[in-house]
């Protein structure tokens, strides 16, 4: 047991500090806390002593620190700024330094507090107005008014003729496209192979799967070989055929995957 007297002061101090700390949750940021502290000065916000306010704020932050209360970063930023402002207010102005004077900064802080207080009051007055659904009421049985949009499409004979002429002209002047006569597409090859693969129980040369009618012309043969080969790879990926090639440039052989 320690001496009762000091114990009491300690408890008082702790309670006072805790009262403030408990409130920290209720504060909406450092400006709100400052506004709250400024009320203790019981003066018009325009004539507030910013220096006194800064001291109050800094001692609040110190107490919070002493109690190992984690303060949000913006409270600490404000503390640093106020410490800076306090030192500027206490020291004689440095003529070489440019930037705002301590008085200007203090003025602005007072303005911010006054503006916040004014907005709070305005918000309260706004909320106190006659409100729809509470003090005044809209029609309870609206019958509704509606707009039906009827779209009418217009086209003239000339539009029709021009459209037709456009299509026909497009044919006459169609842009050059690659002639696909000599191309066997992979889809075509794949379609062919899918039909034939059921019968490929034995290893057999890929060349035997090429369509006969594509063998005459060399361009057509190359195309059919390429697409058929690509198609076998696709079927191999699907797990439906197996492929093998015994040596480099040797014949490629395939067979149906044994079941």
């Amino acid at each position: 047991m320690t001496e009762p007297g000091s114990n009491v002061t300690e408890i008082d101090a702790r309670l006072a500090a805790e009262a403030l700390i408990v409130d920290v949750d209720g504060f909406e940021g450092p400006l709100d806390l400052l506004l709250s502290l400024s009320r203790t000065q019981k003066v018009d916000l325009r004539t507030i002593s910013v220096l006194a306010l800064a001291e109050q704020y800094l001692s609040f932050v110190d107490r919070a620190k002493a109690l190992r209360i984690e303060l949000a970063a913006d409270y600490l930023v404000m503390a640093a700024w106020l410490a800076f402002l306090k030192s500027k207010l206490l020291l004689p102005p440095d003529p070489k330094e440019d930037g705002p004077s301590a008085e200007e900064m203090a003025d602005h802080l007072a303005f911010q507090l006054e503006r916040l207080a004014a907005m709070r009051e305005a918000a309260a007055r706004l909320m106190g107005r006659d409100r729809l659904g509470r003090d005044v009421f809209a029609r309870g049985m609206p019958e509704g008014i509606s707009t039906h949009r009827n779209v009418m499409y217009q086209a003239t004979l000339l539009d029709l003729m021009q459209a037709y002429a456009r299509i026909r002209t497009k044919d006459d002047f169609r842009p050059y496209v690659m002639d696909r006569e000599a191309i066997l597409t992979m889809e075509q090859a794949l379609d062919r192979l899918r039909g034939m693969i059921a019968f490929a129980g034995q290893w057999s040369d890929l060349a035997s799967y090429l369509p006969v009618e594509w063998q005459g012309d060399s361009a057509r043969r190359r195309s059919s070989l390429a697409s058929t080969f690509a198609a076998t790879l696709e079927l191999a990926k699907e797990g439906r055929v197996e492929l093998r090639q015994s040596d480099i440039f040797g014949p490629i052989e395939l067979r149906k995957t044994p079941e």
Partner: protein, 232 residues
């Protein structure tokens, strides 16, 4: 009528008269005030209100029946009327101004390029299957385009083509001819005339014979259906 105390005969005891008319501890509001209350309630409520319901909401000693009767009188001949719905009361807009509540707006829109081209192809090549339209336009024809033209009653479904799959064909309608002031689809200018009108470039691909629409002029007369199949 508590609000007419001023009119009472000279010599009458105001206390006594008041006591006769208003047995409540407090005076009921003047009737004009009661009418305002009924008005506000009937306006704001989402369901018709009975006199009883109104009475329970109003201050003691009020007479909703009289107030409603006054209100009904006030709204007589106006844009809104006090009407009785079953055993309850409601405010309703007057029937003769109901035309204001519904507005029909006609919007004129131009046909999309896809629609007008599809229509042109059907008109020039009818009967035309969807595949044929796509072949000529070189792009797929969306279901919506055909539906719109069907909807407008400018095309209709013709005979099925007797080819594999028996695809439906589209032909233009009377309404189409009406809209474009044509007496028949044969009146559509042929390619030669389009060219003469400067709508079609005069040059032709070498070796290509006069096609489609050119034969139109002769074609459809004979057989509605077959005559045009050779176009493709």
């Amino acid at each position: 009528m508590t609000d007419q105390d001023d009119d009472m005969p000279p010599g009458a005891d105001p206390e006594e008269l008041g006591a006769l008319e208003d047995p409540g501890l407090f005076d009921a509001p003047p009737l004009a005030e009661q009418e305002r209350m009924v008005e506000a309630m009937l306006f704001a409520t989402s369901e018709p209100l009975t006199l009883r319901e109104m009475g329970t909401r109003m201050p003691q000693g009020c007479d909703p029946a009289t107030a409603v009767a006054m209100l009904q009188n006030h709204y007589r001949g106006r844009g809104v009327n006090v009407v009785q719905v079953g055993g309850a009361w409601a405010l309703r807009t007057a029937p003769d101004v109901s035309f204001l509540m519904q507005k029909e707006v006609v919007e004129t829109r131009k046909l999309s390029r896809a629609a007008i081209e599809t229509l042109a192809i059907i008109a020039y090549h009818q009967p035309a299957t969807r595949a044929e339209i796509e072949e000529i336009r070189g792009v797929a024809v969306s279901r919506g385009t055909i539906d719109l033209l069907l909807d407008l009653d400018w095309i209709r479904i013709g005979r099925r083509r007797e080819t594999p799959g028996r695809p439906v064909t589209f032909i233009v309608t009377e309404a189409f001819l009406d809209h474009f002031s044509l007496s028949s689809a044969r009146d559509l200018p042929g390619l030669g005339e389009l060219r003469a009108a400067g709508l079609l470039d005069a040059r032709r691909m070498p070796g290509q014979q006069e096609d489609a629409a050119e034969t139109d002029d002769a074609g459809p007369e004979d057989e509605e259906d077959e005559g045009q199949e050779e176009m493709f």
